[in-house]
């Protein structure tokens, strides 16, 4: 009897298609000196269409991928590059394989978007294979959710061997006696928490943090004027009324803390 040890065991692993030696050689030649237009066929394997929108944004005059001879074609039989988007749903596996088989050798397979690269946010869904590389051999991965048109152009440049990839696998090992210092040690921790909470309530986590950092650096600033005067100057010079409002709220919190005392 087979005992399942993990949910992964329940997934049928399809065999990736293998490439024969001369196809690999031909592909190497194609990558090295492609001296003509590269035709792209787009295979949507169950994406959300965000990737498609960005692909079409990349061939608009603003980014104009066609100036590099990158042309989107309507049939896989014309294609040099196959662009797989989406997390490969169960239903799209066979059509995707048919498109792959229909494209003439040598062909370059590009996995597009977070879903294509590794399944993205759908990676553990029951109905997806979780990435293009689970069904066909992939040459270039373009991550992004969706990749912006410049990222798309960069990805194609990598696929055609015009540009080198910048990203490299990295491993960091903690150094001996490494410690993280406390941010803003001059400001009492409880006051900092109050200010951060107020800013986050007003502007959300991301912008709230930016705003509170600005305010805290103002408090820490080593000059002769009073904090009120400094904050007043900041609010006076602020063109965005929403930011000015948040800064005045932060000042109110600060004054309240001074009056009420912060432990």
């Amino acid at each position: 009897m087979n005992a399942f040890t993990s949910p992964d065991d329940l997934v049928v692993k399809p065999n990736g298609l293998s490439m024969s030696d001369d196809v690999t050689r031909m592909k190497g030649l194609l990558l090295k000196n492609i001296k003509r237009s590269a035709y792209v066929y787009r295979v949507d394997c169950g994406g959300c269409n965000g990737c498609e929108i960005e692909i079409f944004a990349a061939i608009t005059p603003l980014f104009d991928a066609e100036r590099f001879g990158i042309k989107v074609v309507a049939s896989p039989r014309h294609a040099d590059i196959l662009l797989f988007t989406g997390a490969v749903t169960r239903a799209m596996r066979m059509p995707a394989l048919r498109a792959y088989e229909a494209a003439p050798e040598p062909k370059i397979v590009v996995s597009y978007g977070a879903c294509g690269c590794s399944g993205g946010i759908f990676h553990d869904l029951y109905c997806v294979w979780g990435g293009t590389d689970k069904i066909v051999p992939v040459d270039v991965y373009i991550p992004g959710c969706p990749p912006t048109p410049p990222a798309t152009i960069y990805g194609f440049a990598v696929a055609l061997g015009l540009l080198d990839q910048k990203l490299k696998a990295e491993t960091y090992v903690e150094a001996e006696g490494e410690a993280v210092p406390l941010a803003h040690p001059a400001i009492p921790y409880n006051l900092r928490v109050l200010l951060e909470r107020e800013a986050r309530q007003m502007a959300g986590y991301r912008q709230g943090r930016d705003i509170v950092e600005e305010f805290l650096s103002l408090l820490e600033a080593d000059d002769r004027t009073s904090v009120e005067a400094r904050v007043g100057r900041l609010i006076g010079g602020e063109t965005d009324p929403r930011r000015a409002e948040i800064f005045s709220r932060l000042q109110a919190v600060f004054t309240q803390a001074l009056v009420g005392g912060v432990s």
Binding site: P61, L62, F63, D64, R67, A114, C117, S118, G119, G120, I121, H123, D124, D133, V138, D139, V140, Y141, I142, P143, G144, C145, P147, T148, P150, A151, I153, Y154, G155, A157, V158, A159, L163, Q165, K166, L167, K168, A169, E170, T171, Y172, V173, E174, A175, E178, A179, V180, P181, L182, A183, P185, Y189, Y205, R206, R209
Partner: protein
């Protein structure tokens, strides 16, 4: 015809020069998440916040290490990790040039050491996290003795803490005090 030509010259060239010239991305553009491993305390807040599980953490108790890892291929660039990070170790940058030919190049890992409980020797959290929390509780101006007490307090595992509490209560000798009342 002339009218059209005039229109063409008036409009100028709309196409971006990229990739021959760098492109200017919008403010607050969410690109590659940059992990400053020296600032990271391996608290796993980003791991819990990450919607597609692109950020993961694995604890190897035998080796005494905790490994943080990110897969840029799975990242959806939502910025939740940046929001949840208590030390600001992970930040989304404007870098969008992430295309790679090898999938392994899409990952980054960082290995941290685990702190051991001073009582039972089990590991509960990373050494940097323990040190950071002790610093947070004591402030920067804690005396050496106080800092050592805090470090012991923070690095003790919850089970041992409970055990110590019981011992403390036993030492108080509540029964005798109740009889004397």
């Amino acid at each position: 015809m002339l009218k059209l030509l005039r229109e063409v010259f008036r409009t100028g060239e709309a196409t971006h020069k990229y990739p021959f010239a760098p492109i200017k991305v919008a403010k607050d553009f969410r690109g590659k998440p940059e992990h400053d491993s020296a600032q990271c305390i391996a608290c796993a807040a980003c791991t819990i916040a990450c919607p597609p599980n692109a950020i993961a953490m694995q604890t190897d108790v035998a080796a005494g290490t905790r490994t943080w890892s990110i897969s840029y291929g799975r990242c959806i660039f939502c910025g939740r990790c940046e929001e949840s990070c208590p030390t600001g170790a992970i930040k989304l940058t404007a870098d969008f040039e992430l295309a790679v030919a090898r999938k392994e190049d899409l990952t980054k890992t960082a290995v941290f050491t685990l702190a051991r409980c001073p009582s039972c020797g089990r590991s509960v959290a990373s050494a940097k996290e323990v040190a950071y929390v002790a610093l947070l509780l004591g402030g920067a101006e804690a005396s050496a003795e106080e800092a050592e007490r805090l470090r012991l307090l923070v690095s003790t595992c919850p089970e041992c803490k409970r055990k110590h509490d019981v011992e403390q209560v036993m030492r108080l000798d509540i029964e005798r005090q109740m009889e004397n009342r």
